[in-house]
Structures are given as C-alpha cells and as structure tokens.
Symmetry: C2
Subunit: 208 residues, 2 copies
DNA sequence: GTCTATAGTTAGATAGAC
DNA sequence: GTCTATCTAACTATAGAC
C-alpha cells in the first residue's frame, strides 16, 4: 500500500519505461528493438528493465496488447450501433483516421508483428471473443442490399474496402512521400481531407 | 570464362542461397533474419554465405532490390499507356492482384522494410528517377474530371484509393483470416474475385 | 528501487586448410 | 568453392551490493 516514494513531478520509472518501450518497439519492431536502447532512452540500466518486466518478451507483450487495443478500439461499438450502414461509414472513417493520425505507427506495428508471428496472435485473441463482430456487420450490409438501400455487393469485399481505404495510407506513408515528394504538412492535410473523402468515395460506389 | 564446373542438374549454390535468403528475409524481415538460418536451409555454412555476398547487408540489398522491382514492375507501362483512366483501372487491378497472389509476402516485406529504414529507400530510388510517374497519372485523372468523363475527385486521393484497395488485403491477411475464420482456399477465391470487384467498385464511385 | 559487474548465448564475420 | 574453427561484438538476462 505504501507506494510512490518518488516525487510526483516526473513520471514513475515504470511509466517512463513503457513510454520509451512503445516508441522503440513501434519504430524498430520486436526483432529490431534492443533492451539497451530502451534502457538508455529511459535513462536507466538494463537490470532495472528486467526488474520491472522480467524479459523482452513480456515487455513487448504489454506494448503489443496496448497497441492492438488502440487499433481495434471502438469498432465493436460502431458495428453494434443501430444505424444504417452509410452512417456507420461516416463515423468509422472519421474516428479511425483521426485515431491513426494521432498514433501513425500503430497500423504498421500491429500488422507487421501479427504477420511475422501469426500463431501468437491467433491463440491470444480468437478464443476470447475479442475479434470484432465482422459477420454481424456483413449481415447488415447483406440486409441493406436486399432492401435496395445500397447496390449489390459482396459484404466482405465492402468491409475489406473500407478497412483498406482507411488504414493503407498510414502503412505506405514513406513510399507515398518518396514517390510524390509531398511534405509532412501536406500529408497531414491529405489525411484530414481523407476522413470525408473516403466516406464519400464508398457511398458513391454503393449508392443506388 | 570457364565457369560452372557443377552439374547443371541442381541449382547453382548462388541461386540456392538467393532463393533461401528471399524466403527467410520475406518471412522474418531484415532484423529477424539470421545468416545461420539461411545457411542451414541452403545446406551450406555461414562462411560460404559470406564468400558469396560478403555481408548480411549486401545479401539483403540484393533481395530487397528484387522484391522492390517486383512490387513496382509494370506500373510505369500501365501509367504511360495511351488509354482512358477507367481502362487502366481494369488492367492495373487485374495485373497487380495477380502478381501479389503469386508472391504474397512481397507487399508486407517491402512496406515494412521501407517503413523501418526510410532513408536507405529515399536515397536509393528517388534520385535515379525510378519512382513511378504518379504525377503524370494524376494529371490524366484531372483532365478526365475536367472533360466530364469521371466525377470530380482529388486525383491523389483516387490514386491512393486504387493502391489501398489492391495492396492492403495482402498486408492484413493474417488478421483478416483470424477475424473471419476463412480458410486459405476461401481467401484465394476472395482475392480472385477482388481483381474485378475492386475495378468495379472504383468505377462505380467515379462514374458520372 | 537502482546500480555495477558479469554470466551465458548468439550474432556476423574472418582465417586458413583442403 | 567449400569446409572447420575461431574471433569479436552484441544481445538478453541474472547475481549481488547498496
């Protein structure tokens, strides 16, 4: 019960480690990250890192779980909401792109780490029912197609399109900038416009 | 001039190394790949690896260049062709998705390695004019908008949409399968359908 | 909680025999 | 060209003092 002997002014050591670890893992990935780098940037030594998190694996686990939760946050809420699909598109693109603009490293980090180690991901999330209710969303799309609200389309293809249009720009950022030569500021504006541009694009494609 | 003393039946050692290195780098990335793994799978020892390629960096360089060339192959040809944009969409989606179905590891590999080390990429490709002529394509789109062939849209947003819809499914593959539970065979069918589905989706979104 | 010092392992790379 | 043996450096992790 008697905790925090440190001044409250600066972050606790644990919080500082987590912040730095996030930064290092996000930019270098699990395989490229070094405990020494994390210790250095947190202004401590490696021993203390292990004192707090035992191993690189366990520290990574904490960071990955956090990133994953951020990457698939309110999706469930949006999907579960009682709204027509076109309204969900607006909400989804806006919220999702906003989130990634604030944490632009998360998409590549999560996608890449899952890609490199699918088993860990599979066993961890699927059994616990943490997967977003994609089939429920597909059912709603199918229903709206049937009712003539939107053009005939394979629901899964449409969902994949929605995800692709929102997420891919953040994954391809460096190549896009290299090819087009646009600055960070221009890219920010581009992403800002994209919040509504993606929604408009999708709605134009499926409107009857 | 007097080369290949080996039987022609089996691959040359160099070719075998390259094949194995491609596989290892593609699945584990630069940081996660081990020279020992490559040597083992190629049934040689590390010394011979260095005899052929001097260093891990140089071996990686060869693999990366090859992957990158495959990732941005005939884009230039398609863009340069004298066709209306809608026809280019058909050709692009079909050819591009076909290529990635044959080499599904390439998108994540290239995107991730560039993401982790943008400088190397920047300095290598941009000055040499190897970047696809994206601005030329944007100009064509702008012209077709002006002529009333397609709906008003920011050309760069449209190009980003096209790339996103083609590439992202290959980057998100493991998560998509985990969430939906679809099999490899079903996914293959999904991608096959996607060749035309993406083109149809885009054309529906921009048709006047 | 935090440190120094170091153990134990593995990585990339080279020397030198064949 | 191919191997064994080895070097050196870097990595994760732990022991033990304070």
């Amino acid at each position: 019960m008697a905790k925090e002997k440190k001044a409250v002014v600066d972050q606790s050591t644990e919080k500082r480690i987590l912040d730095v670890a996030k930064k290092v893992f996000f930019t270098k990935g699990y395989a490229g990250a070094r405990m020494q780098d994390i210790a250095d940037e947190a202004a401590i030594n490696k021993a203390l890192l292990h004192y707090y998190f035992r191993s690189k694996d366990q520290l990574f686990e904490v960071i990955f779980m956090g990133a994953f939760s951020t990457f698939f946050p309110r999706i469930r809420d949006i999907i579960d909401a009682d709204k027509p699909f076109t309204e969900k598109i607006d909400q989804f693109t806006d919220e999702y792109i906003s989130m990634m603009m604030q944490q632009p490293f998360i998409p590549m980090f999560v996608l890449n780490e899952v890609h490199k180690n699918p088993e860990r991901f599979f066993h961890k999330f699927i059994p616990e029912g943490k997967a977003p209710p994609i089939k429920k969303l597909a059912a709603q799309i199918a229903a709206e197609v049937k009712n003539g609200n939107i053009k005939p389309i394979d629901p899964m293809q449409l969902i994949m399109n929605l995800m692709s249009l929102c997420i891919f720009p953040f994954v391809s950022k460096p190549i896009f900038q290299a090819f087009t030569g646009i600055s960070d500021n221009q890219l920010k504006k581009f992403m800002e416009e994209r919040k509504t541009a993606v929604a408009a694009f999708i709605k134009a494609a499926i409107e009857v």
